[in-house]
Chain length 360, copies 2
């Protein structure tokens, strides 16, 4: 068995220890003689697995008791519809901050349900920055404010949590949840597709303040109703049991890394050393404003784009996988989520230095 370093933006690297445990017990979970995938979601064993995963996530993120934690399906994109369906609550407008491709998708879908006010956009600088708090033209009557703390494609991450006063703040944390400590109480709702820092694709985590539940648009599908899901402990119907179980293993692994505080130190180190090479070596560059650079997704371009293909081929030959930038922007992107080990970043840096010496 070979294990390469995987810089995929999502689905992305999972902790090797988690995969090994899942592999070990794949046909016989805890001596029961069947796979966790073959167990009823209503069995006492699976219910315990599910509850423990939720508790571990609550511990890791210090989620206050007045927040529900939902394990849903559909990905973050399904939340783009659910958010207005659940959180408009009689209002007709919502504020959205536009910092890139995922913001735009959220805006497009929300616009089908309400009037969207784009209260700030960084489109003019090609989404290479984040707006300052003072630039947010917030509406006190908005039902909520939505933003994307980390934009996966262009590697742009907010260095602050917007202050929205009494207006509920909603965050798509798909690509930076659990990467560093955050104060959950600043948010009305946090959501994340699992396939970056949580587990496999097909699971979506929603953390929502319980006073916001229960006032839905009339045409909301039952499975899109947060209250209905919360009241059923996310088991209105069969949940994605294997993903939920794997997320639980990832949470245990994260606790063993010192929790979010521990992994944050590692993430800072990984990101800083990679940006240091990009900034100090004229062969590489990154267009994002210093304060807005993502710890999770690090895009960079070569001084000579003709060498892109060779760079990617040589990287792959060295076991450095999935470095092409998103098809909409080109160049390179190293996604260095929690599960990408520091040695992977070190190997990438060594390769980048070597490649630039040979071709720079």
């Amino acid at each position: 068995m070979t294990r390469n370093y995987n810089f995929s933006a999502g689905p992305s690297a999972l902790p090797e220890d988690v995969l090994k445990q899942a592999q070990h017990e794949l046909l016989d979970w805890h001596g029961l003689g069947l796979s966790i995938m073959e167990m009823s979601h209503r069995s006492k064993e699976f219910v315990a697995v599910a509850a423990e995963a939720e508790q571990d996530l609550r511990d890791l993120m210090k989620i206050p008791d007045n927040y529900k934690v939902l394990f849903m399906q559909g990905g973050a994109s399904s939340q783009f519809s659910m958010i207005p369906m659940n959180l408009l609550r009689g209002k007709t407008t919502a504020d959205y901050i536009n910092t890139g491709d995922w913001s735009k998708k959220a805006i497009k879908e929300a616009s089908r349900y309400c009037d969207v006010n784009v209260v700030a956009t960084t489109e003019a600088d090609n989404f290479t920055s984040v707006p300052a708090q003072s630039e947010l033209k917030l509406n006190p009557d908005a039902a909520y404010v939505h933003y994307t703390p980390n934009e996966t494609i262009r590697g742009v991450e907010f260095d602050y949590i917007p202050d929205t006063g009494d207006v509920p703040l909603v965050a798509d944390m798909s690509s930076n949840i659990l990467s560093r400590p955050i104060d959950v109480s600043r948010f009305a709702m946090i959501y994340a597709g699992a396939q970056k820092n949580i587990g496999p694709a097909g699971l979506t985590v929603v953390i929502v303040r319980d006073d916001l539940l229960g006032d839905i648009l009339p045409t909301t599908p039952a499975l899109y109703d947060y209250k209905v899901n919360a009241d059923a402990d996310s088991m209105l119907n069969t949940p994605p049991t294997f993903g939920w179980y794997l997320a639980g293993l990832v949470f245990k692994w994260l606790k063993a890394q010192g929790g979010v505080e521990g992994i944050a130190e590692l993430n800072r180190r990984k990101a800083e050393k990679l940006y240091a090479v990009i900034d100090s070596n004229p062969f590489y560059s990154n267009p994002v404003a210093i304060n807005a650079r993502s710890w999770m997704n690090v895009p960079f371009i070569l001084a000579n784009a003709d060498l892109d293909k060779l760079f990617l081929q040589e990287a792959q030959d060295k076991g450095l996988l999935n470095l092409p930038g998103h098809r909409s922007v080109g160049g390179m992107r190293a996604s260095i989520y929690n599960a990408v080990p520091e040695e992977g970043v070190d190997a990438l840096i060594a390769f980048m230095q070597d490649f630039s010496q040979r071709h720079g």
Copy 2:
């Protein structure tokens, strides 16, 4: 490692060969040095896995070219909303046949979007039969007719496909898809949660005639729009990649069993021998009309309900797992889906005969 016989109604048994292959390649898929779970859904490797799974399903079910096959999230229950949202197509009423708990759930959700005509119900006989074709009070103006070919909880299966004339027929085949040959062209749409005969929970297969797509209710979420999903090859956003991959392995396994035709012979044999014991041994009984008995879910009760607990305990001690009936009906239920081997049914029968001799 021990492997027991698993009679769970869902999530349920998976083919052991499939689990073994998944286990073998869990950390290193085809020598790429990463898990299939860690791969981008847009990588050429995963796109090939996804396309091959679809083609194998098309082969197995002989799906005509004018049907789209979608790999979605949300379970069959999410389809209860999607069906009216997509298939009302300007009409305001739909026909539903009520043969049990899952029919009722589909009706309840559809009633939020249209006028539901219940065109037949077997509630009067406690859902132990299926209505005859002549008993269906079909409305020629209905947008579609919905039914549940197999009711998982009470073990009731249609022995015919309703003739609905020009009105599109929609079937929830969650618990009997791929269990025997069917003529797909008789249906406008077939859907199934994966966690019985397809793969792990979190994946839903939808087979829908392409002329029915594109005329949705205005408030339909993008991810609930069949046409949007079809146009994106079920990758509007990240699909449940591991479930899709596992479904593909199950389809390969099913081909190796002689396809749907081959497994149908096995399923017939498994069901017939189990019902034979229930009917011939006065210690056991099953209330379902002979013509409506499910090949997949076989409920039965003991003559003396005081022995239920002992029966279940002894069965479990012999490695015969998950035999309690659904909490709403009690008694026992043996779900004998494709992946439950004939030896498992033989072992159950041997135990039932032995138990009745000792306690009858």
